[in-house]
Assembly symmetry: D3
Homo-oligomer: 127 residues x 6
C-alpha cells in the first residue's frame, strides 16, 4: 500500500541538503527564484538528494556528467562543479568525467564543460 | 520569510490532480514506477499542476508543445494528448499546436508528434 | 483534392501578424536576417501564426514553453516573452508556464528561462 | 527594398522538388500529414530546397548529418538516406558522414543512424 | 612537450576494456559497425575507458546518467545498464541514478530510462 | 579479419589535418584542452577527418550543419565556419546550409547560427 510521504519537514530537509552540497552559491540561486526555487529545495534536494541509496559524491558525479552532456547549462554546471568539489570529488576526477562526455555527447559538449572546469581551477588557484 | 509548504496531503492532492488530468492511463504509469512515480504524483501533480495560476487546459497545451519539441518522448506524448482531450482541448487545437512545433523545433519533431495525434484520432473514431 | 495555397499576399500577411505579435523587436530580428528572415515572415507568421484555429495567446504560451524546454534559445525567448505580454499573457501566467517546464525538461532549462522572465520584469518595472 | 516572393506556384514547385529528392516515399509522408504536409511541400521544398545556391547532393548530405546528430528522427532519417541516394550520394559517402557524426554528437547518435544506413543497404541488396 | 601516444596496441587495449565493461553484448555491437565500431574500441575504450583516473564503476554511473538524460539512446542504455551491473553497480544504485535524472532532465527522460532498468531487472529475475 | 590500425603517427597525422582544416584557431583550442585536446587531434582529426572517403569541403559542410542544428555550440560553430571557408566553402554556400537548418531544427537554431556567420562576414570585411 502506498501512503503519503511524511513531508512536513521537507523544506527544512532540502535546505540542509542544499547547504551541504552546493553551499552558499546554491542557496543564492534558489533564493532568487521564488516558487521555482522552493521546488528545487523541496523536491530536488528534500526528496531526491536526501535519499540514502547513493552517496553525494556519486550524485554530483552524475549531475556534472548530465549537465555537460545536455549542453546549454553553463550556470548550473558552475554550481555543480563547485558542489562536486564540496562533496569530495577532485579536479582530476572531474576532468576524467568531462573527458568521458565526448564519446557519449560529442566534443562540443565536452569542450564547453571543460572550459567551466578550467574556470573553477583558476578560481581555486587564486585563493 | 520563507516557510515550509504544508504538504502532509501532498500525495493525496497530487493523486486527485493526476486522476483529473490524465485519468487511468496516468495512474497506471505512476503506479508502475515506484518512488519515481511517487515523485511525479507529489511534485509534478501535487506541487505544480495543483497551482491555481494557470488552467489545466493551458497546462496541457504547454505540456504537449514541450514534449513534441523535445522529441523522443512518444510514450509521454500519448499520455498528455489524452490528458489534453480530458481537460477540454479539441483535436483541431492540438493539431494547431503541433503545426506550430515545426517553426520552433523543425519538421521531424512536428511529424513524429502528429503521428501520435493521428493515432489518438483513430482510437477515438473506433470508440 | 489538394490545391496550392493562394499566397500572393503571404509576405504582407506574415508581416502584419509579426507586427501584431512581436512588435518592433521581432521586426528588427527578421529584417537583419536576409532570406532566413523572409522565411520567418512568410512561413512562421504568414502560414502558421495567421491560422485561425488557435488564439495568439495560446500560440505564445506554446512558443514560450517550447523555447524554454529546448534550451539554448535565450534570444528567441526574450522576443517571445515580450510577444506573450503583447498578446495578453500576464507575468504571473508566464511564471506558471516556466515553473511547469521543470517537470518536463528539468530545472536547468526552467531556471535559465526564469532568468529571462526576471529580466523582462525588471525592464517593465523601469518603464 | 524587400518585396513579397512571387509564390502562386509555390506548392507546385515544392511538389516537383519533393518528387525529385525524396521520390514516392516523401510524397506518401506529406500526403498523410494534412496542412503540416502542405507546409513541408511549400516551405521546406518550395522555398528552401528549390533555392539555387547549394546542390541537392549537398543539401541531402547536410540533412542526413543533422538528422543523425539530433537523434530521435529515425523515420525522417530513413526518408533522407533514400533521398541522398536518389541525388547521387554513395553508400560509402553516407557511411563517412555518419562516422563523422560521432565526434560532434557522440557514438549513440552515430550508431543509431548507422543502423538505418545498414537497413538501407540490406534493402538495396535485396532488390 | 606533447608527444604522440604510443598506440600500436590501442585496438587490443580497447578490446580488453570493452570485454571487461560491456561483455559480449558490447562486442556484438562494435563488431557489427565496421570502422565506426573500430573507433568505439580504439577511442572510447582504448583511449578513454582505459584511463586510470576514474573507476569503471564511476565511468558507468556517468554513462548511464548521460544516456538517460539525453534521451533517444535506448539501445545504448541497455548495453550500459548491463555494463554497470558488470562493474559492480547494484540495481538499487542504478534506480537512484535514474530517479536523479528527473530534476536535471525532466520526468520523460527518467521514465523512459527506468523502463529499461525494469527490463533488465525482469531479465535478471528470469535467469 | 580486423587488425589494429597502424597508429604510431596518429597524433602527427591529426595535427596536420587540424592545421589544414581549422588553422591556428583550431590549434589554439586543442592546445588549451590537455588530454581532451589530444583526443580531438588523434581521434577526430587523425582517425576521422583523415579518412579518404569524403572531401574536407563536405566534412565541414556536415560539421557546420550539425553544430547549428544541435544549438549551444557557438564557440565550435565559430571555429568550423572559419574551417569551412579554409577548405573552400563560400559565404553564400554556408548561408544556404544555415537556411536549411530551419526546416530540420527550427528557426531558433538557424537564427543563432546565422548570427555567427554574420560575425564571420563582418570579420572578413574588416580585413
Amino acid at each position: 500500500m502506498r501512503t503519503a510521504t511524511p513531508t512536513h519537514d521537507r523544506y527544512a530537509r532540502g535546505r540542509d541538503k542544499l547547504a551541504q552540497v552546493d553551499g552558499s552559491a546554491g542557496e543564492a540561486v534558489v533564493d532568487s527564484l521564488g516558487d521555482l526555487g522552493r521546488h528545487i529545495v523541496e523536491y530536488a534536494f528534500g526528496d531526491v538528494y536526501a535519499r540514502p541509496g547513493l552517496s553525494l559524491r556519486n550524485r554530483e558525479l552524475a549531475a556534472v556528467a548530465m549537465l555537460a552532456a545536455k549542453g546549454g547549462c553553463e550556470p548550473q554546471l558552475d554550481v555543480h562543479l563547485h558542489a562536486a568539489r564540496n562533496v569530495g570529488l577532485t579536479v582530476e576526477e572531474l576532468r576524467e568525467v568531462l573527458i568521458q562526455v565526448a564519446p557519449y555527447a560529442g566534443f562540443p559538449a565536452a569542450i564547453n564543460a571543460m572550459r567551466r572546469l578550467q574556470a573553477l581551477e583558476a578560481e581555486e588557484a587564486a585563493l
